[in-house]
């Protein structure tokens, strides 16, 4: 599905240059949910932005379904961490969700129906005519998820999607993502700095090193579905995996700091 080969990216030139990615190899299979974990500032967002075609990597290749990503691929959706800025304040919630569907060649009624369905799915059927800034943070992020759902992307990218909400909301949103991905059998690449979260929602966890980021290691998560916030986290397998991921992240923390 997604094939990232030897991806490197350097910002700037000369003495001020900063290498964010130092040759990353990553594969995501069809229908898989992969979590990428790494310390803050390691280049996770650069990776995601490269896959989404928002920046052009200095080296390496990204292929989605055997097609090399040059510009923005037409078939993926992104959920950003900063919901207050990724939703458009001048459009109603419904319009926000329906907007990308214009590219799917749907007419107005079809777009509206799809938007309503997606909002229903995230539990916000009643909020369609409201404006994003009239909703709470968690609800706004649900709208962003609904927007991605309605788009039916072959690949869903999520950049720290639950980083800006409170703990309770965060758990609800995690379960929401698990539920909708189960329902739609979507391929998801989720980026997070939260070790617990990566184990809880992922099928597989990829750990990155500090900047310039490389793959430090990866683990398969074979926890049973459906997952539950309390029960799953109590499982010995969960505790073990969490520790493994933690070790991978931490191992690199002790390596000499790289200049920023």
């Amino acid at each position: 599905m997604l094939d990232v080969v030897n991806l490197s990216h350097t910002y700037g030139e000369g003495p001020n240059a900063h290498q964010a990615l130092g040759g990353i190899d990553l594969k995501v299979a069809e229908g898989e949910m992969v979590c990428v974990v790494g310390p803050s500032g390691c280049g996770k967002s650069t990776l995601l932005r490269s896959i989404a075609g928002l920046i052009r990597p200095t080296e390496g290749q990204i292929r989605i379904r055997e097609t090399t990503v040059a510009d923005t691929p037409g078939d993926l959706a992104v959920v950003f961490q900063d919901y207050s800025r990724s939703l458009f304040p001048w459009m109603s919630v419904g319009d926000n969700v329906a907007l990308p569907l214009r590219r799917r060649g749907k007419d107005r009624t079809a777009r509206r129906a799809a938007a309503a369905e997606a909002l229903e799915e995230v539990g916000l059927a009643a909020a369609s005519s409201k404006f994003p800034w009239e909703l709470s943070g968690g609800m706004q992020q649900r709208v962003a998820i609904a927007r991605a759902l309605a788009y039916r992307p072959s690949l869903l990218l999520m950049d720290e999607p639950f980083g800006s909400v409170d703990a309770q909301t965060r758990e609800d949103l995690e379960d929401l993502v698990l539920k909708v991905r189960e329902h739609h059998r979507m391929t998801v690449l989720l980026i997070t700095h939260d070790i617990d979260e990566s184990v809880y929602v992922g099928d597989r966890v990829v750990v990155l090193t500090r900047s310039p980021a490389r793959v430090a290691g990866e683990l398969s998560v074979d926890l049973p579905f459906p997952r539950d916030q309390i029960a799953t986290r109590e499982l010995p397998a969960f505790v073990h995996l969490r520790a493994e991921v933690g070790r991978l992240v931490r191992a690199k923390k002790e390596s000499p700091p790289v200049q920023v």
Partner: protein
């Protein structure tokens, strides 16, 4: 703007009345001071407002009811002036926003054009009237050109600024979902730059009144600016003051109507700012 009073209680009405009063009490005082001051001075060149109003009535507002009491003179001067004003302003909006978005979104293009923009806006439009007479036809074309030239800069500069600084997450989101050029322009860039654009457009509206007058001082045979010059050259000083008052009222009304429109169009902006 005025507090809308729900219900018919006298208390509500009184509150509404007070709110209106708080806005307008200074106006009668200022007019009275003006009246007294000019009466005291007794100068031909500074007629009291009562005399100005009488002259305005005589010149413009004593027409038949079928014409909203406007005289032929009023229709002959107001309509062409307003047509030039709105024509020039609308054209400046279209050109300014169009060019502004292009310059704001393309670093390369703005590199070539920016110095010209900076230079162009520094040239006082009245000095270009001789040039416009040559390039455009005397009369409406030249006048509209003068207005466009004079008022386009705030729109252009603000649009460039607004379009250049569209929130990165907004831009990324639009790009990630693969919105097309047109959709990105109309759904993302223009609304995001909207508050800035509106600020420029509003500024240009009051400038347009001024340039309408300036452009009508040359080679015009009608219009409020022409009236101003005509009354002045005929030493009809009440009439001249009448034209000045009329310009003030026109500017006031235009600004107020514009604010109403802006409130509607940009309600998301105002309310979003209040909630965050």
């Amino acid at each position: 703007m005025t507090t809308t009073v729900e219900g018919q209680t006298t208390r509500g009405m009184r509150a509404g009345l007070l709110a209106v009063l708080a806005r307008v009490w200074l106006v009668p005082i200022a007019v009275a001071a003006w009246e007294l001051g000019t009466r005291q001075a007794g100068s031909t060149y500074f007629p009291p407002p009562s005399q100005i109003l009488a002259r305005m009535y005589e010149l413009w507002f004593s027409g038949p009811a079928a014409h909203l009491f406007l005289t032929d003179g009023a229709l002959g001067d107001f309509l062409p002036s307003l047509a030039r004003l709105f024509g020039g302003w609308a054209l400046a909006c279209v050109l300014g926003i169009g060019l502004g978005v292009a310059l704001g979104r393309s670093r390369k293009l703005s590199g070539y054009i920016d110095p010209l923009v900076e230079f162009g806006r520094a040239i006082p439009p009245p000095t270009l009237i001789p040039l416009f007479i040559i390039l455009f036809k005397m009369g409406t074309q030249m006048q509209v050109a003068t207005i466009v030239y004079g008022v386009i800069w705030p729109i252009l500069i603000n649009t460039i600024d607004g379009a250049r600084h569209v929130d990165r997450v907004h831009a990324d989101t639009a790009q990630a979902f693969g919105l097309g050029r047109a959709q990105r322009l109309f759904r993302i860039i223009l609304p995001a730059a909207g508050p800035k654009i509106f600020a420029g457009v509003r500024l240009s509206l009051s400038l347009a009144v001024i340039l309408m007058v300036v452009s009508e001082l040359v080679g015009s045979t009608n219009g409020i600016g022409y009236q101003l010059m005509f009354t002045q050259q005929n030493f009809d000083l009440s009439g001249m003051w009448g034209a000045i008052v009329l310009l003030g009222v026109l500017g006031f009304v235009l600004n107020a109507s514009f604010l109403v429109v802006e409130r509607r169009v940009l309600s998301w902006h105002r309310r979003a700012r209040q909630t965050t």
